[in-house]
């Protein structure tokens, strides 16, 4: 057989290396719908435990919302389970075009193209619109999917220090001779929860004749007064050339993503983007679900307002309790613990206390910046947040980190 003992040992030792380095990922089995409270089997075989979930991207609490589930059911009945095709052969239904128009209207752009995921959107967009005469200038902390997409493109690459506008300007001057300059950023940075300075970036792009691409995956549906995203918050609606985003987080949480922006660029993606050309169309129930989400969010800001109120309360309460937080004003609230092992132990103890949160450490975040990333949802009621806060304080006291400075925590836990 081809899969010899020698080959098995090669892969076995790779997996062991991950385990030895403490970066081997283990799944927790959830036996309920995604919500503020979930039932978790962990470790495998353990009895089910009801926990408060503070690590989902379920920002608007729509993942199992009855209205969305109903809309998906109706989509399933009316347009079927799947299309067994890519878009351009026989995979485009009326509802796919309706969704594209609704996304365009919601984001305030010229046109939109759906992708199977935002990872696919980011993998396909650069190669479709840029050539080796162009340059891509990305923030150094952009999401991994943007990095992979940039790698697939023949244009020159460059980067600027995170959110450093002076450095970005230097790069725009350095690459003045390029045919097209594309600046690339996340709208909201998923690990730190900070937002890009899109107003300043738009001004720089206008000054130096560059285009701007923003990944809005952690923003669409709830950032900005009516939830349109970081461009709304920064007052630059209509001025972003390309927005990529996902339907797998705030906008329903199922799957799918898109590129939305200037109509010529969207059309080029339709003609040339490989993940669009060679991957299945989004399933009809998902399309129907996202349509209902956008309809609801276009009518009322109730859910994003509740999310904002929840996130503000959570951030303020953790600070008052003496935790060190990464500064920001989004529903992503990172509780800084600095040491990798402490972040893991802290998460384990939280789980015992009925709170499901994940510790992140190097290489996901820089060395010495380990944290518990909490993500607040509109599905959380005040009693969820109060219970979760009590658990954080109890575990914080156990490790004696409340009210301590970064240096004091590092001295105790040796980060």
């Amino acid at each position: 057989m081809a899969y010899s003992d020698k080959i098995r040992s090669i892969y076995g030792s790779q997996l062991q290396t991950l385990k030895d380095a403490g970066i081997f990922k283990i799944e927790r089995y959830i036996h309920s719908v995604q919500d503020a409270e979930i039932e978790v089997e962990f470790p495998p075989g353990a009895p089910l435990k009801k926990v408060i979930n503070v690590c989902a991207n379920n920002y608007l609490g729509l993942s199992s919302h009855p209205d969305v589930v109903k809309a998906a059911h109706e989509g399933l009945d009316a347009r079927g389970y799947g299309m067994s095709s890519v878009r351009f052969i026989c995979g485009t239904q009326d509802i796919h075009k309706i969704l594209e128009q609704k996304v365009t209207d919601f984001l305030g752009t010229e046109d939109t193209i759906l992708f199977p995921s935002c990872m696919d959107a980011n993998a396909g967009v650069f190669e479709a619109i840029l050539t080796d005469e162009d340059v891509m200038i990305s923030d150094r902390l952009v999401h991994a999917s943007l990095i992979d997409g940039i790698r697939l493109c023949k244009a020159m690459t460059d980067s600027f220090k995170h959110s450093d506008m002076k450095h970005l300007e230097e790069k725009l001057i350095l690459h003045a001779d390029k045919r097209v300059k594309l600046v690339i950023t996340d709208g909201v940075y998923s690990m730190d929860g900070d937002t890009a300075k899109l107003d300043e970036m738009v001004a720089l792009c206008e000054k130096y004749d560059a285009m701007l691409l923003v990944d809005e995956s952690h923003a669409s549906g709830f950032i900005g007064k009516t939830g349109r995203g970081t461009h709304e918050k920064c007052g630059v609606m209509g001025k972003i050339d390309l927005i990529t985003t996902t339907f797998g987080k705030g906008l329903g949480g199922a799957s799918g993503g898109c590129v939305s922006g200037r109509k010529e660029l969207v059309e080029l993606c339709r003609q040339k983007a490989r993940p669009y050309l060679f991957s299945n169309t989004i399933a009809p129930p998902v399309v129907a679900g996202v349509i209902s989400v956008l309809d609801t969010l276009s009518k009322t800001t109730e859910r994003r307002d509740k999310l904002e109120k929840n996130a503000n309360w959570w951030r303020k309460s953790l600070l008052e309790a003496g935790f060190i937080l990464q500064p920001g004003d989004t529903p992503i609230v990172p509780v800084m613990l600095f040491d990798a092992k402490l972040s893991q132990d802290f998460a384990t103890d939280l789980f015992k206390e009925g709170v499901y949160a994940i510790g992140f450490f190097f290489p996901v975040v820089p060395q010495g910046k380990a944290r518990i990333r909490t993500q607040i949802s509109a599905a959380h009621e005040m009693h969820h947040l109060e219970t979760a806060l009590a658990a954080f304080i109890k575990v914080g006291k156990k490790y004696d980190i409340l009210g301590k400075t970064k240096n004091e925590i590092m001295a105790m836990y040796g980060a």
Binding site: M156, D158, H162, L174
Partner: protein, 81 residues
Amino acid sequence: MEEIREVVLEYVKNEYMEDQDEELTYDTALISGGFVDSFSMVSLKRFLETRYKISLPDNRATPEAFDTVNKITALVQEFLG
């Protein structure tokens, strides 16, 4: 030679170090050590070409050749003739 080394060291510090107190020597592994992301190597190449009025072919401007200040200096020196 000495001057080129200092210029390159200063550039790398300003361009890539988030924390100015971080230790950086002539032999610090810049790319393999994770200080310089491969996306922004191009800035370094463009800087050297402009500053020293040389042209570095792509097949010589490799991550290996750019991995330390000393290696970069040697490369520039070679093209300066």
